[in-house]
Subunit: 298 residues, 4 copies
């Protein structure tokens, strides 16, 4: 028997960092998962933990680093953690840090106090940082961004086989729950790790995804997906590759004919399962595909 | 044996209503649950369905009504459905309609087209309408409104018994996931049902909940809850009773002392379970308590 | 403004108790929620915690009691906790303890060691104990018990109105996810609390629910529900009242006609939403209905 | 821009197949997800659906095949579907079918009727079949198999760095929620696809996982994982590779010292997050690793 790829760490460390700027507070709310690999044959074969930095220690490190270094962004925080684990322990050769970030808005109040927040947005921001001692890989993303176009979507001209019953349509709702991961370029320079304005980068990518979804007259969800991916690559020079996973959240026209009512694209039944699932990668010319086929950003 | 309270209907009808105003579209996205009761002894004892309007028919009615009458608000739609079932079938004496409503914002795009939406907010709006042929009860509410104060909360002066270990604190995070139901007054007038500007009423109640949470220097979550409830009653004359269920979403100070670090209310661990759970009703003087102790708005 | 019903406590304390009988171990795996009420006006109005036994203390008590008294059953453990809180603190007049219990089976292995377990069953056992210093109420139950009859269910003879399209059927799948709560009799004797063989009582009630579901030729889910309730009452003399909440987990015949195939009750589509929801209480003659209309056993 | 890997299909088709053998019925309850890829550049770039077999058609095919061919096993059913899509449509070159299967037991009743079932087990069986017109890959597995040893687990001898606070322990609970995928050998023979007794193969793999978990005196979860993987490979000659993902479901000893109580491994707090996560592949000598690092069996 052979031991193949293996990794371990503490998953889902829920760390909240408050920064006080006088009476104005700022909040970062993350879910951090650590995955380490390296010289781990002994622990699997004999149970010797001599090379094991415990998962409990990795958890402690997450919280200590939040204090010592603050959390400027999910990516920056992950880079710092990955560097620490790989450079700090000889047995650990690769670290992968995954982060979910939850969005908070301010509750606007009279007076000067600014320490009250309300969770906003449905979507979760994600980041995955991998460092093997030499090369860095930073993949940012989001999930659960739910969007809907109430028109400008049709679906026609497809293959008909024995099992095809779907009628063609010139006007339908197109809705999806976006899961997207995009890989940043040029991150093999040195051990300090990549630098970027990760907050701004995320805002831009998210906005281009929304604009491409809203602005595309859709002949298929694949076409919309491809426009979303290319728009991000066209406008964000630091991004080399993007993968999108788009469930087709079907909104079926309610059949009102039995009641003598015409349904002129007004009343829909929002179905749960099954759902179409459209997934694809879009790459910059010359870029190497490295995002896995199945997105698993936590 | 005696048959006690019983009710039946179709739960979780996911209806989406699009209204087109030229190139500007509007969306209402509801989850509607119907519960009917009345002369239903036979169906339980003998299986005779002679008095049964099927749950499938109640589902059809939801979709047909969305077409025939539109959806001005969750409450208005529920009132119309409740009236229909009670007045339309002699065997049905009471109808309870529950509605969840999901919030959508617009994706702002260049050009004049306005048919693109993005799900926003974490919280879900709720409404429950009950009609027994004479009296109406309208209970509006929300759930999953997550809020957090990063200071202005303390917890001291409590009972200490043999099992008490909690240290007192003068500065803590106070966070909760608001579930609230408020009952509207004066709804026993006639069979057409109550009228109000339900959209505005909801916006106001939600805003007062946020303002009371943010503006209260908190000595206990009970005190904050009571301020939230009273603020709604003080500012919304049409509301007679409100019940709040507030889980204390604990944010524990990370213990960084073993690492020689001081944690000056900066780094917190957001815990899942267990959690404190604080629940109470606040009533206008003379109002009768009618909201159940355990909130179950869907 | 008036403060109405209020309660507080620590919810979802996940306590696991191991008992060692030589090399044979036993496990109890509970989720315990404490809810206390009493003289709590001050904490709501002024924030004074002088009457507050903290939720943290109630959590500690759960774990300490698991050590000091063991966990003979969910009900016995809840009774002990309720008595402690009401008799131990003058300000606390009522305690409600809710328990979920998860089922574990043994992994049978060669040799004499018996300390390995596997989670079994889909369903969760529940218990709710309420004590106000005088009267006891013990409500046992279960949830997520998923059952299915592949025949012996029909649905005909119902009301047809304008919105009815459902065809009658003489043979359908009947499937549901049982949620049931049953209230035990005679529990107002003294402050030590009610006594019973709660483990055996639960096993019997569960088995009668299964047998009634399987053994009833069903003309409606209401009829099946009523048979389930009456069978429990007929066979379990200590039970006075039972409430059942039965979602009709629809299994629709797949329409295979377009493919020239006949579907003779062989292939079904298991739908998620919407679903019928049938709820009713069955009582012993003379019993007072006390289980709430909406089941919320955690 | 370049279009990279892409795939599409209908996910989560919930098909239930009843087979009647006189008054004895049998049930298969699956959740089937179809993923197709091939010559799909046009649909992404121009929105032309000329090569698209719609996701709706793939759904219809699942239900039609359940009628035409029955469901002997998740794997056999998936193989048939994959072959159909790849051989039936020139544009489709690869099909990946994923299946979840839910376990039902019989409700034993008096009399000869055998058509009543109850959902049993916590775990879900999984299968993934991939066919590219030449080579077959069959990966079976399971998820949510929750197991616990109440002793015979220790954890000592690990690295201590600045952030280490965890005390060593000679006796702890070891609990996990097994997710496992195992790849079958020798499936590149012909277009009819691989043959095996999939039902028996699954039963054996599951049992060896349980026995290895229960029978290993554990010095680390990695060691237990490796024993689970090797035991399956040693005993199931048709399996070449297995990957396990084992969250360490921490059961922390409740600290009862403040109450003057000794906790001799009796009372535990079952924590939710964070959790250790241990993942590894074990391969037969000479086997090529093909199971992805992140398990995503639906």
């Amino acid at each position: 028997m052979i031991l193949g790829q293996n990794q371990y760490g503490k998953a889902e460390n829920r760390v909240v960092r408050i920064t006080r700027d006088g009476s104005t507070h700022h909040i970062k709310d993350l879910n951090v998962s650590v995955s380490l690999s390296g010289d781990m044959t002994d622990v699997h074969l004999s149970g010797s933990n001599a090379n094991i930095l415990t998962t409990d220690t990795t958890k402690n490190t997450v919280f200590a680093f939040a204090k010592e270094h603050g959390i400027a962004s999910a990516e920056e925080f992950g880079i710092r953690l990955a560097r620490h684990f790989v450079t700090g322990q000889p047995a650990i050769t690769t670290a992968r840090i995954r982060v979910e970030e939850y969005a908070w808005g301010r509750i606007e109040t009279p007076g000067s106090k600014r320490h009250s927040f309300v969770r906003e947005n449905q979507e979760v921001r994600t980041a995955q940082i991998t460092f093997d001692g030499t090369a860095w890989e930073v993949v940012s993303g989001l999930k659960d961004l739910v969007v809907l176009n109430s028109t400008d979507s049709e679906f026609t001209g497809y293959v008909k086989d024995r099992y095809t019953t779907l009628p063609e349509t010139r006007d339908r709702i197109l809705a999806t729950q976006v899961q997207a991961c995009w890989r940043h370029a040029g991150h093999d320079a040195d051990r300090t790790g990549p630098h970027a304005d990760w907050e701004d980068s995320y805002r831009q990518a998210r906005e281009h995804l929304l604009q491409a979804f809203a602005g595309t007259y859709s002949l298929s969800l694949q076409q919309t997906l491809y426009r979303m991916g290319t728009r991000v690559l066209e406008n964000c020079p630091g991004i080399e590759e993007i993968r999108l996973s788009l469930p087709n959240k079907h909104h079926f026209l309610a059949d009102l004919e039995p009641f003598g009512l015409e349904n002129d694209n007004e009343v829909y039944f929002a179905a749960d399962r099954p759902y179409g699932l459209i997934e694809a990668t879009v790459l910059r010319d010359g870029a190497e595909p490295r995002i896995p086929v199945d997105l698993t950003n936590l």
